[in-house]
C-alpha cells in the first residue's frame, strides 16, 4: 500500500467516524427539542428527527466524498499529515456549520410552535362606536 492510498484511507475513516459521532449527538439531543416542538407527539418527533439525521448524513458524506481528491502525489509521511490536516479540518468546519444550522432549525421550529400567550392588543383604541348589535340589544 502506497503512502498516498493510506492517506486517503485515513482521511475517509476519520471523516466517517466524525460524521457518525456528530449525527448521533444530534439525533440523541435533538429529540427533546422536537418532542417539545410537536407538543409531546413523540412519533412525529422521532420521524422528523430521523429525517433530519438522514439529510445530515447525506450532505456530510457527499462533501467528504467530493473533497477526497488531493490533486498531488503524497510521497512522505510529512506530506501525508499536512494533507490530512487540511482535509480533516475542512470536514470539521463543514460538520460544525451543519451542526449549527441544525441547531438553528431546531430553535426556529421551537419558537414557531409557541403560540403567543399575550392576548392584549398592541395599542389602545382611539374611540368607541356603538355597533348594530348594541342597537338591537
Amino acid at each position: 500500500m502506497t503512502i498516498g492510498i493510506s492517506t486517503y484511507l485515513i482521511y475517509l475513516s476519520i471523516s466517517i467516524a466524525l460524521t457518525i459521532w456528530v449525527a448521533r449527538t444530534l439525533h440523541k439531543n435533538g429529540r427533546v427539542f422536537l418532542v417539545d416542538v410537536f407538543h409531546g407527539n413523540e412519533a412525529l418527533a422521532d420521524s422528523v428527527n430521523h429525517l433530519l439525521v438522514v439529510g445530515f448524513y447525506l450532505i456530510n458524506f457527499g462533501y467528504v466524498t467530493l473533497a477526497l481528491k488531493l490533486g498531488y502525489a503524497v510521497t512522505s509521511a510529512e506530506q501525508s499529515i499536512e494533507a490530512l490536516s487540511v482535509k480533516v479540518g475542512m470536514v470539521l468546519l463543514v460538520l460544525g456549520g451543519m451542526h449549527f444550522f441544525n441547531l438553528f432549525v431546531f430553535s426556529r421550529m421551537r419558537r414557531r410552535s409557541h403560540v403567543p400567550q399575550n392576548n392584549q392588543p398592541p395599542v389602545n383604541p382611539d374611540t368607541f362606536t356603538a355597533t348594530a348589535v348594541h342597537q338591537e340589544a
Partner: protein
Amino acid sequence: MQALTVLYDPECGLCRRAHEWLAEQAKIIELKFVPCASDEARKRYPQLNHDLTKQDLTVVDDLGWVYFGPKAWLMVLWALARYRDWSYRLAAPELLPTTKRVVSMISQNRYQIGRVAGLTR
C-alpha cells in the same frame, strides 16, 4: 375579542391586494372586510364618522372599540398568527413613532403606490 371588522378603501389597488394577502393568512382573530363608508358600514356603525374612515384604514372590534390609521394596521397584524409578535415589536415605544410615520406615508400615497406597482383595476 373574537373578530375585527376592517373598513377598507375599495377604490385603492394596494388595499385590494392587501385584502387578498390577508385572506390567505392564518388568523388568531377573524377579520371581516367591509368597504369604508358603504351602506353596510353605515348600517353596522351608525354613529361612526364615516368621512374619517375614507381617509385611513379603520378597524372596529366586536365590542365597538375603534382603531384608526397606523393603530388599525397594527391590530390587523395582531390578528394574524404569524405576525402577532411583530405587532408588539412595531408598537413598542421605541418603534411606534417610526411605524406611524411609515404607515401614514404608505396610506396617504396608496393610490400612487398602487398605480406604480400596477395594481390598478
